[in-house]
Symmetry: C2
Subunit: 323 residues, 2 copies
């Protein structure tokens, strides 16, 4: 700043007023123009730390997440980053190993950067407990729910997802539809009610023996599908709780000497592209609204955060070739 | 600081000296103890911005990457984050959409936070060009190479990976080994030389008709494997450039009425767990040293960065059931 002032023969404070865009002090437009020209020429960059002390605004949002290092849920980061950018804000991401590992130190270090809001996002739909320190700034959770109920959450509409997948199979003419649910409580309960609602609406009795559950991977999908396909009256369609479970179900269908779609229709959940788009046949599935949830969190922090109670965002069906 | 000073009847500067740990000024241990007690009691947190202006060190490292929102390469973030933490440094991650989209603004905003070093990491092994602004702080590239040759890179040893995979198949008794390479130039060239070196070492002639290449996905793997398996003298083993290509190759093997491993051994590349660990049979593959590369970047920034020319890190074979 001293360099610019000397270069132009202006006082240091005049230069400072221009650079900090002080609207309470009148400075000639010509002077402003000369200052900015000199600034560009001399390669001055406002020191974020100094500016933040002066203006009290940092335009920083913190994102604490286990997604950055995970193959799931990357859309949350994409959506949040874009929305922050549109608000002229910078998203500082801190990566944690798992949803359970949010220690106070991670939150503390973002608070020391004077983030003006905090987003806590998880790859899976889980319950979390945040360190006390988080309460110092507005907080929004994405894809997870606060066990203590203190913070608003943006979560996917699991019931609607379960309904959409099941309804797609009913529309395809199926009446015996197996549900291979994942055993994680938060996503599975909603998906099961959606499944049951779709069946009831179509006048189909819910047969609880057709509902099984296990871990979210292909191994569990294989075992559970195999189990259902061995019934004397097996299902003609399977709704699987994750695309990876559907990947395992494909193998069980083949092992039973049957063909996916022709003999057993399969719908997945997640739209995890490296699985869903490349299975043979490609997988019809329910997409989770990751980008939308990430963007919604940034919008919430920029809006009436006091009045924000959270929101439930709908995913959608991605039609491919398995149903 | 004023509150603490008033509370203890000390001068503001004494409190400041204690909090900023000024070793050039002697303060009684008893006074220091009282200050820290009061600080804890009154809930004071050093303002990172103020501290950084005072001390000129921020202990911040910036990571610009397309990995945070991608299903690949998450280990780089995990490794870098852990190493930064061990150095008492905070890793601020900025997510970009693709390796090609590192615009100057993203780099600028990290520089405004006064990061003391910059890591630029990509999900795929590619060539990149960094905005001019990056040159203001030490820079290390991970999993990518600077087209202008200005910055050191930490990259995987692709030649060694190709050698390891091929050698594994030779040790399994195979002599006609197909290479289904990916067409991205940086990783594929090294893998092919490793493949050829392993063959030559074993006294096997390199048959160029057994080397094909395509995009990194399962669709390309399927088509290319199908092509090789239709030869009158088909390969008995396939080394695939990605686990997803191997996933497609599995389907081509099955379509030809053959069995993976028993009839055609397959080795992949990447150790992308959601594919490799759940294919049927599970996939023997070469792991990329993602965590090691991420950690090495942080170590380089904390070491003799002027003398650092980059490094090449070896991956390893992950034995499963496909070869």
């Amino acid at each position: 700043m001293g360099d610019v002032a000397r270069h132009l023969g202006l006082s240091r404070s005049t230069v400072s007023f221009v650079i900090n865009d002080r609207t309470d002090i009148r400075i000639a437009e010509e002077t402003k123009r000369r200052v900015w020209e000199a600034v560009t020429e001399l390669g001055y960059r406002p020191h974020a730390a100094a500016r933040s002390l002066a203006s009290s605004r940092t335009n920083l949002l913190g994102l604490v997440t286990d997604i950055a290092s995970s193959p799931f849920g990357g859309g949350i980061i994409t959506g949040a980053q874009r929305a922050a950018w549109e608000h002229g804000q910078v998203l500082l991401i801190v990566s944690i190993d798992s949803a359970a590992s949010a220690d106070a130190a991670m939150i503390e270090m973002l608070l020391e950067q004077r983030v003006e809001g905090l987003i806590y996002a998880t790859a899976g739909h889980v319950a979390v407990s945040l360190p006390e320190a988080a309460a110092e700034v507005p907080v929004v959770l994405v894809h997870c729910e606060d066990v203590d109920g203190r913070y608003p959450s943006i979560i996917p509409d699991e019931e609607h997802g379960g309904y959409t997948a099941t309804r797609r199979l009913i529309d395809g003419g199926h009446r015996r539809i197996g549900l291979i649910n994942l055993d994680a409580p938060l996503p599975s309960a909603g998906r099961r009610s959606g499944y049951e609602r779709a069946l009831r609406e179509a006048g189909i009795d819910v047969d609880p023996t057709l509902v099984v559950s296990g871990s979210a991977d292909a191994g569990a999908g294989f075992e559970l599908a195999r189990q259902l396909l061995r019934f004397t009256d097996p299902p003609s369609a399977l709704f699987c709780g994750t695309d990876r479970m559907a990947m395992g179900a494909f193998d069980a269908v083949r092992e039973a000497g049957l063909r996916v779609r022709t003999d057993v229709a399969v719908v997945g959940y997640d739209d995890q592209e490296i699985v869903a788009a490349y299975l043979r046949p490609t997988l019809t599935t329910v997409a989770l609204p990751f980008e939308e949830m990430g963007a919604a969190a940034v919008e919430a922090l920029n809006g009436d955060i006091e009045g924000f109670d959270g929101s439930i965002v709908r995913g959608w069906l991605v039609e491919r070739d398995s149903a």
